[in-house]
């Protein structure tokens, strides 16, 4: 049995009167691709921001590698964050920096001192991992949506994190780019042996890349299983995600 690297217990979060997370429980195993699927506004991004310590819960606990991050000081959370890389829905590339400077950024601000030659080598290596070469000098504004996602992934894995979080990685992309991003998520896991947490509302992508899928509704996980189990599920909400047209009355 694989080791649990992330454990979320009874997570609650409200924004004013909006109770977004309502006692959410989740475990993520080392090396797995865990997809969390849910409709817009179901609390997926909020959950992801809790896992990396960008938001504090109203109640509940989150453990990363056995350490409870919900009780940590901001400085201790910074230490734990070094285990993570994150790919944002909007890519969140620094628009005043070139592609190479974006990918090099986690290396320059981290604890370890890298030489300039080493940084250049790592940037080339990570861009090659996402099948991008010769774009080092370009600015983010000069890239297509798919290229931005690739650069964001290269930046997220530049410092060799143990866990990569993906926030809606395929949203807003054309079907061909969606396929290539999905392949990249699989390839990144296989080549770097990272644990991946992907939040999405794209069931086709989830079925393709996931080891385990958790379905989020109204702030709770209402169903969990492998892609095969999800496809066999008779839960009405899960079936609506699988077959949105057929489920309509």
């Amino acid at each position: 049995m694989r080791r649990t690297v992330i454990e979320v217990v009874g997570l609650h979060k409200s924004f004013g009167p909006n109770h977004v997370l309502r006692g959410l429980d989740l475990t993520v195993e080392k090396g797995a691709i865990q997809v969390i699927i849910g409709a817009s506004g179901s609390g997926k991004s909020v959950l992801l921001k809790h896992i990396i310590g960008l938001l504090s819960p109203d109640a509940g606990r989150i453990y990363v590698d056995g350490e409870e991050i919900t009780r940590m000081s901001p400085r201790e959370i910074m230490r734990v964050r070094k285990k993570f890389g994150m790919v944002f829905q909007t890519s969140a590339l620094f628009d005043s920096l070139t592609v190479a400077e974006n990918v090099a950024f986690p290396l320059r601000v981290g604890d370890r001192q890298y030489g300039e030659e080493e940084i250049r080598r790592i940037v080339r290596e990570k861009l090659a991992l996402v099948h991008l070469e010769g774009v080092e000098h370009l600015m983010p504004a000069e890239l297509s949506g798919g290229m931005k996602k690739r650069v964001a992934l290269a930046r997220a894995v530049a410092h060799d994190p143990e866990i990569v979080l993906y926030d809606e990685p395929t949203t807003g992309l054309d079907p061909i780019t969606v396929e290539s991003v999905n392949d990249l998520i699989l390839e990144t896991r296989d080549r770097l042996q990272v644990t991946s947490v992907v939040i999405s509302h794209d069931m086709a992508s989830a079925l393709y890349i996931a080891d385990d899928i958790a379905v989020l509704k109204e702030g709770r996980i209402i169903f969990r299983g492998t892609p095969e189990e999800i496809q066999r599920a008779d839960h009405p909400y899960v079936r609506r995600f699988l077959h949105p047209r057929a489920a309509r009355p």
Binding site: K49, I52, L54, P74, M78, R79, R81, K82, F84, G85, M86, F88, Q89, T90, A92, L93, F94, D95, F105, P106, V109, G110, H159, L165
Partner: protein
């Protein structure tokens, strides 16, 4: 209740909202300022970020400051020359302009121009970074965004404004002397003679201290509004406008308070 009563009530309500918003902003800025002070002494010290912010605020604002200084000096010279010629006090023109510039006009006009140019740019840049998740991205890389983004910008404001104010003083007095001598036919000696005896180094230093405070206000207002921007492009636009309005109002109010505090010092010989 008649229309007049309802209108008056609405006016009072609106004024109340504005006062509450200003108080909330002041509190938020004070909290942010205190936090940035703590973060300033915490390593790593990012000198490159500070120099880059100083270049953006200082060098970027130089042309607009020089232009403002030139015309402020020139117009002030015309007005003062005309007024003083009415009672044959032309020899006081240079000293009056130099004193007004050093104590008030240079720090205030420089700060207002830099607020419009650099304070708004700070709010826009940070606001865009906030709504496009770039600030969250920084945090996920174990970088404290406030330490990385805000500390250099606020210190750049504090350090750069006195330099720009000194340049304003110089350009304005040269422009004033040029206009007084060429347009108003004052002699070079008449313009410059009284300046050394009227203008004390304390006047200039007081003005530069004021400008450092104004630099803190305008950069902190830009950082506070930009960093807390929400709601996409509209939110960024709103944050930018609010940063300029808040910065400008606080500069004018603090100028009065600082002048009140400095007057006894300036008066002492």
């Amino acid at each position: 209740m008649g229309d007049l009563g309802r209108g008056a009530l609405r006016l009072v309500g609106t004024l109340g909202d504005i006062v509450l918003q200003v108080v909330a902003d002041l509190g938020g800025m004070a909290r942010m300022g205190a936090r940035l002070l703590v973060l300033t002494i915490r390593p790593p010290y990012r000198l490159r970020n500070l120099l880059s912010a100083m270049e953006a605020i200082g060098f970027g604002s130089l042309s607009v400051v020089v232009l403002t200084a030139f015309f402020a000096g020139a117009v002030f010279s015309l007005q003062v020359s005309l007024a003083f010629s009415l009672f044959n006090a032309e020899t006081l023109v240079g000293a009056t302009i130099a004193l007004s510039m050093a104590r008030e006009l240079a720090p205030v006009l420089t700060a207002l121009m830099v607020t419009g140019r650099a304070g708004s740019a700070i709010a826009t840049e940070l606001g865009t970074m906030r709504v496009s998740e770039q600030i969250d991205a920084l945090a996920t890389m174990a970088v404290e965004p406030e330490h990385y983004l805000l500390v250099p910008r606020v210190w750049a404001g504090v350090l750069t404004l006195p330099l720009l104010t000194a340049i304003f003083n110089l350009v304005a007095i040269l422009a004033a002397s040029f206009v007084a001598i060429t347009v108003e036919n004052l002699s070079v000696a008449a313009f410059w003679a009284r300046i050394p005896s009227w203008v004390d180094p304390k006047d200039v230093i007081g003005g530069l201290i004021k400008s450092a405070v104004f630099g803190l206000i305008l950069s902190l207002a830009g950082c506070y509004k930009g960093y807390n921007a929400t709601g996409g492009a509209r939110g960024v636009g709103l944050a930018t406008t609010q940063a300029v309005v808040l910065g400008s109002v606080l500069i004018l109010v603090s100028d009065y308070l600082l002048t009140t505090v400095m007057l006894p010092w300036w008066r002492s010989s």
